[in-house]
C-alpha cells in the first residue's frame, strides 16, 4: 500500500454536529501527523462544519476545490506526549509510591500531565497497605446490616432500675469510644492517596460500621430512659491520645490491635452477660464488625513489619508513650467499671454481685491474653508482649 494514499471516510448523511465528528476523530487517530483524510458525506453543511471543527481541534481543513479533507495536526497527540500510567488497574498494578500529581485518576489510568496535585501525604505502599484489604472490603460490604431489621427493638423486657442504669452507662461509654473509632479512619481516608483504593474502601466501611454502632448504642441507651450516663475525663483523655497519633501504622496498632482488639472481648462479654435481648443483639452485631477491623489492623501491621522490622520498636515506643501520657489520669471511669459488674450481676444481691465481679475479672484477663496473642503474631517476643499488654490503657480502647 502506498503510504501517501489519503484515507477516505464516508459520513453518509450524518452531520458533524450530530456525532459525525466522532467518526472523523476515529479515522484521524490511525493517521500520522500531516496525514490527509478525505471526508465524504451528503450533509449540506459538511464542508463548512469540517473547516470550523478542524480549526478548533488543531487540524487543518482543505475545503476549497475538490473533496473536503482534514490534514491531521499535532495538538491531539501533544496533549498526551508526557502522559504516564498511574500504575496498573488490578491489585498487581499497585506501585510502591503513588505520585500526588496523578490526583484522583483511577489506578492504571493514562494521566495527562498538569492539573492540581493532590494534597495527601500517605503515598507509600508500605505505610498503608495490606494484601487482605480487598477481601476485607468485600466481606465488610457484603455483611452490612440494617439496625431497623437486625435488632428487635420492640421485644418486651423489663429490668430493675439499677440494672437498666448500668446498661445505659455502658452504652454511654461505648458511644464515645465509637466516635474515636469513626474519626480515626475518617481522618486517614482524607490523607490517603486513592492509588491504594482497597485501603480507602476498607477504612470507609469501618467508618460506616462505626456510624451504625453509634446509632444502635445510642438507641439502646435511650430505649427505656431519657437520661444517659456520665462521661469521665480520664476516658476521654485516653481516647484523645488515639486521635492525636498522626502515623497510620501506629494509629492502627493502638486503635485496631490494642483498642478494638480489647473491645472484641468487651463486646463478647456484654453479649454473653446482657440482661436483655436488645443489649445482646447490639453487642453481637458490633462484635461482628469489630473482628474485621482488628483483622485489617493485623494484616496491615504484618505487611508493614515485613517491610520494615524497625516498626516493632516504634510500636513499642508508641504504647509506652501513650501509657506515660495517661499515667496521671484515672483511665476507666469507676462508674463504667461498676456498671459492667452490675450488668453481669443481673440482680442486686451479694451472690449475684460476686458473679458479676468475677465475670469482669475474667474479662480483664481475657483482654490481656488476647492482646498478648496478637502482639506475638505481630512479631513481639512473649515477654515483651506481656509487658506491652500490661501498659495498655485502663480505659480498654
Amino acid at each position: 500500500m502506498a503510504v501517501s494514499a489519503p484515507m477516505v471516510i464516508d459520513l453518509e448523511n450524518l452531520g458533524l454536529e450530530a456525532g459525525g465528528y466522532l467518526l472523523v476523530q476515529r479515522a484521524l487517530h490511525d493517521l500520522p501527523v500531516g496525514g490527509r483524510l478525505i471526508v465524504r458525506g451528503s450533509d449540506p453543511a459538511l464542508r463548512i462544519h469540517l473547516a470550523a471543527w478542524s480549526r478548533s481541534t488543531g487540524h487543518v481543513a482543505d475545503v476549497v476545490g475538490g473533496e473536503p479533507a482534514v490534514i491531521k495536526g499535532s495538538a491531539v497527540t501533544a496533549r498526551w506526549n508526557r502522559a504516564e500510567r498511574a500504575g496498573g488497574a488490578g491489585s498487581g498494578g499497585v506501585l510502591p509510591h503513588a505520585d500526588v500529581r496523578w490526583g484522583l485518576a483511577m489506578r492504571g489510568a493514562l494521566v495527562e500531565e498538569g492539573g492540581p496535585p493532590l494534597h495527601v501525604d500517605l503515598v507509600d505502599r508500605d505505610l498503608v497497605w495490606a494484601d487482605a484489604a480487598r477481601q476485607l472490603y468485600i466481606n465488610g460490604s457484603a455483611r452490612q446490616w440494617d439496625p431497623a431489621k437486625e435488632v428487635h427493638w420492640d421485644d418486651p423486657f423489663s429490668l430493675p432500675a439499677e440494672i437498666e442504669a448500668a446498661v445505659v452507662q455502658v452504652m454511654t461509654y461505648l458511644v464515645e469510644n465509637e466516635y474515636a473509632a469513626l474519626l480515626i479512619p475518617a481522618k486517614f481516608i482524607a490523607r490517603l492517596h486513592p492509588h491504594y483504593r482497597e485501603v480507602m474502601q476498607v477504612l470507609s466501611i469501618q467508618v460506616a460500621d462505626e456510624a451504625r454502632h453509634v446509632e444502635v448504642f445510642s438507641r439502646r441507651a435511650t430505649l427505656r430512659s431519657d437520661e444517659v450516663g456520665v462521661s469521665g475525663a480520664g476516658g476521654r483523655a485516653s481516647l484523645q491520645t488515639l486521635l492525636d497519633e498522626p502515623d497510620f501504622s501506629l494509629a492502627s496498632f493502638l486503635l485496631s490491635v490494642l483498642g478494638e482488639g480489647s473491645f472484641l472481648d468487651l463486646l463478647s462479654f456484654i453479649a454473653r452477660h446482657a440482661p436483655d435481648p436488645v443489649t445482646r443483639e447490639v453487642a453481637s452485631l458490633a462484635l461482628r464488625d469489630e473482628r474485621r477491623h482488628v483483622a485489617f489492623g493485623m494484616a496491615h501491621l504484618r505487611y508493614a513489619v515485613d517491610a520494615d522490622r524497625s516498626l516493632l520498636g516504634r510500636m513499642r515506643m508508641a504504647a509506652e508513650r501513650r501509657h506515660d501520657a495517661l499515667a496521671s489520669t484515672a483511665g476507666l471511669n469507676q462508674d463504667v467499671y461498676d456498671s459492667l459488674v452490675t450488668l453481669a450481676s443481673h440482680a442486686w444481691n451479694p451472690a449475684s454481685i460476686a458473679t458479676g465481679w468475677q465475670a469482669v475479672q475474667d474479662l480483664q484477663r481475657d483482654m490481656d491474653q488476647g492482646r498478648q496473642r496478637r502482639l506475638i503474631l505481630l512479631g513481639f517476643p512473649g515477654d515483651e508482649a506481656a509487658e506491652l499488654s500490661a501498659l495498655h490503657t485502663r480505659n480498654f480502647m
Binding site: 450530530a18 463548512i48 462544519h49 470550523a52 478548533s56 496533549r79 498538569g114
Partner: protein
C-alpha cells in the same frame, strides 16, 4: 522598560489567561504587564497614543487602529495571531422549511444579526448581502441583537439570540460565524437538520496582537519569539491555550482584513481617520 499590553475583559477568563501568559513571559526574561479595557475603542486609541505598547485586538479594532495610526503618521504591526484566527467564514442561515433557497430570496425579508460592532455576525454578513443587492433599510429588515456592545462580537450572546429568533420564526434568516453554527447545532439551539446555509462570506481573519508606536523593538522581538514558541505539549501552558482557544500562535498577517475594511466603509462605521461614526454605537 516593560512591554505593556492591553486586552479587553469580555469574560472573566481573560484575567486567568493573561495572568498565566504574563508569568510565562516574565519567566522567559521579558518584562511584561497587561491592562484590561471594558471595550475595544479606548484600547485602540490608547495603543495609537502610546499609552500601551501592544493590544490584543479584534479585527474591527485592528481596522480602526490602522486608520487612527495612519492619521497620525505612525505604523502598526500585526505581530502574531492564533491558528484559529485564520480563514473564518460568516454564514447566512435560514430554517430548512422556510422555502428560502438563495440570498436573492431574502428580498423584503427580515434577518437577525449579532451586535452592531460584531464583524462576524453583523458587518461582514451584511456586506455580503449588500453585494447581492440586499440593502438594510431598503429591501431588507435587520433585527439586531446588541449584546456586549463594544466587545466587537467577542460576546457570543448576540449571535445566540439571533439563532434563537430564527428558530422561533421571528426572523427569516440569521447571521453567524461558521464555528457558532456548528456549536449551536451541537448544543441544540439549532435543531439538527433544521437549518440551511444559503450564503457564506469569503474566508477572513480575526484577532491579532497589534504592536503600537511606543513599543521597544527588542522587547517586541522577544515577545514574538516567546509567543511563537509556546507549545501545546507544555502542561502549564495547555490550559491557558485552551482558554484562549488556540493550539499555537502563528505569525501575524494582514491579508485577511480587506473584506472588513470594505464593510466598515460601506456602513461608515469608522471614518477614514478612525473616528467612530456609526449611528447608535455606544460602547
Amino acid at each position: 522598560m516593560t512591554l505593556l499590553m492591553g486586552a479587553v475583559a469580555y469574560d472573566p477568563k481573560v484575567v486567568s489567561i493573561w495572568d498565566g501568559f504574563r508569568q510565562h513571559l516574565v519567566d522567559r526574561g521579558l518584562p511584561f504587564d497587561f491592562v484590561l479595557y471594558s471595550h475595544y475603542e479606548r484600547q485602540a486609541e490608547d495603543l495609537v497614543n502610546g499609552r500601551i505598547d501592544a493590544a490584543w485586538n479584534s479585527p474591527l479594532a485592528w481596522v480602526r487602529a490602522v486608520r487612527l495610526a495612519s492619521a497620525r503618521g505612525v505604523e502598526l504591526e500585526a505581530l502574531v495571531m492564533r491558528d484559529t484566527d485564520r480563514d473564518l467564514r460568516s454564514l447566512i442561515v435560514t430554517r430548512a422549511d422556510s422555502g428560502i433557497e438563495s440570498l436573492a430570496d431574502l428580498a423584503d425579508r427580515t434577518i437577525a444579526t449579532g451586535a452592531i460592532d460584531s464583524p462576524q455576525a453583523n458587518l461582514l454578513p451584511l456586506s455580503l448581502l449588500r453585494s447581492h443587492g440586499l440593502v438594510p433599510g431598503k429591501n431588507l429588515t435587520v433585527r439586531r441583537f446588541d449584546v456586549g456592545v463594544g466587545l466587537h462580537g467577542d460576546h457570543i450572546g448576540g449571535e445566540r439570540d439571533a439563532a434563537r429568533a430564527l428558530m422561533a420564526g421571528a426572523v427569516d434568516a440569521a447571521c453567524m460565524i461558521d464555528a457558532n453554527h456548528l456549536l449551536f447545532a451541537r448544543e441544540g439551539t439549532l435543531a439538527t437538520g433544521a437549518t440551511r446555509i444559503i450564503g457564506e462570506t469569503a474566508p477572513y481573519d480575526h484577532c491579532n496582537m497589534t504592536i503600537g508606536p511606543s513599543a521597544d523593538p527588542g522587547e517586541v522581538a522577544r515577545f514574538r519569539d516567546v509567543l511563537l514558541a509556546m507549545s501545546y505539549d507544555n502542561a502549564s501552558l495547555r490550559p491557558l491555550l485552551d482558554l484562549e482557544g488556540l493550539k499555537l500562535w502563528c505569525p501575524g498577517r494582514t491579508s485577511g482584513y480587506s473584506a472588513l475594511e470594505a464593510a466598515v466603509d460601506e456602513t461608515g462605521f469608522y471614518g477614514s481617520d478612525g473616528g467612530v461614526r456609526a449611528d447608535g454605537y455606544r460602547p
